[in-house]
Amino acid sequence: MNIIPLWLHKLSSPPVFYRFAGALRPWFLWSALILGAAALYGGLVLAPPDYQQGDAFRIIFIHVPCAWMSLFAYFCMAVAALVAMVWRIKLAEVIAMECAPIGAAFTLITLITGSLWGKPMWGTWWTWDARLTSELVLLFLYLGVIGLFNAIEDRRRGARAASLLALVGIVNLPIVHYSVLWWNTLHQGQTVNLIGQSKIAPAMLWPLLLMVLATHLYFVASLLARARVGLLAVEGGKQWARELIAEKADA
């Protein structure tokens, strides 16, 4: 057997992953916090105000990374969901289900910050702009997955049902995006580009990229933390979980 599948196979065993995730989590969290702090300093203090948008553009440093993360989390969820559906791996089910709330959180931030950015720029809190509309639809996709998972009593059955929904959603996502774009041109809605087509200045670019990296690291840290809880919930009756709880009680 190939070394990598073997290694993956070992890692997908819940107790091994539980310990592994517990060991890795602080590293991801702390690097996310440090990089995030640096990015905030660069974005809020060092970067000069935009010549068109003034200081309002500084919302970009959280809005854009969160918008990327909202899609990235969905993509991760769909991959885990596919693995869960095809191979029925318990860990994949847990990971797919734990991606959803993180993705929903990032989507929510994207929507609210977009609205806060849109008010001074467009003069309105909400506009049916193609990008914002797609993001709203994405939020509904996430809510559907979370709602379905919670509506089904049996956790594993719920996870597989919600995984199937996530897969239906990822087929739908590009269709939504293009249909909304088409709809927008049809109705001549605002096509204000918050992020200009022009080249972004380096002083603005590096904090942005740093923040993108920080949010990715945070996503992994949060996913590891959530997956640990999810595994414990699914495997609560197993021997390893019992030992772990007994250990905790002694400490």
Binding site: R88, D154, R155, G237, K238
Partner: protein
Amino acid sequence: MDNAASRLGQCAVSSIRAMPISLSASAAPILDVQGLAFARNEEPVFGPLDFALDRGETLLVEGDNGSGKTTLLRVLAGLLQASAGEIRFDGQPLAHDALHGQMVFLGHQPGMKNDLSPCENLAFLSGLYGAREGADVGSALAQVDLAIYADTPLRMLSAGQKKRAALARLALLPGELWLLDEAYANLDRRGIEMVNALVASHCSRGGAALLTSHGAVRFADPHARHVRLELAA
């Protein structure tokens, strides 16, 4: 050959081997189950179980409410996936697409529409599963004493009559292995005898049947070879 091996773990088994000749053409038992276990939300529901069922045999699964009889049947039918163990059908590891049509499954629910008559319901079932040679809907309903209700919507029938309508498929559909959940529920003495007669004739022709019962009704047919499997709660 030990054609009624069935033991291990929580199940107590008594096997009665009476039939002298083997009807089975192939050596492998029709159903061979090893180490079969099922857990829901990590709570074990039953197992691990080992048993084998040969052609011509009836297996009566007994147990209290909540002992996992229904779950066992659904696992065997392929509606649920076992958490551990192996099921072999005719010597082959279970591949459910291949098995479909060689098995008659009757669950708690009748699997029939209340707005349709027994006749229409059975016609639909045989449209999916086919019909045994020489069997038709009318004769199947006659076998369960339901001929006069053939065209009455199911909702007008009593619980026992509904059960009989559901059981009528046993006289109609092809399939070597019968999986019958609570086959005796809602039936009167005559109904119970009728089920036994259907099962006995099925087994005498080389079929096999697996029945569950919560123990209130004793398996009454003295001629059948049968294995008893008790599931502990």
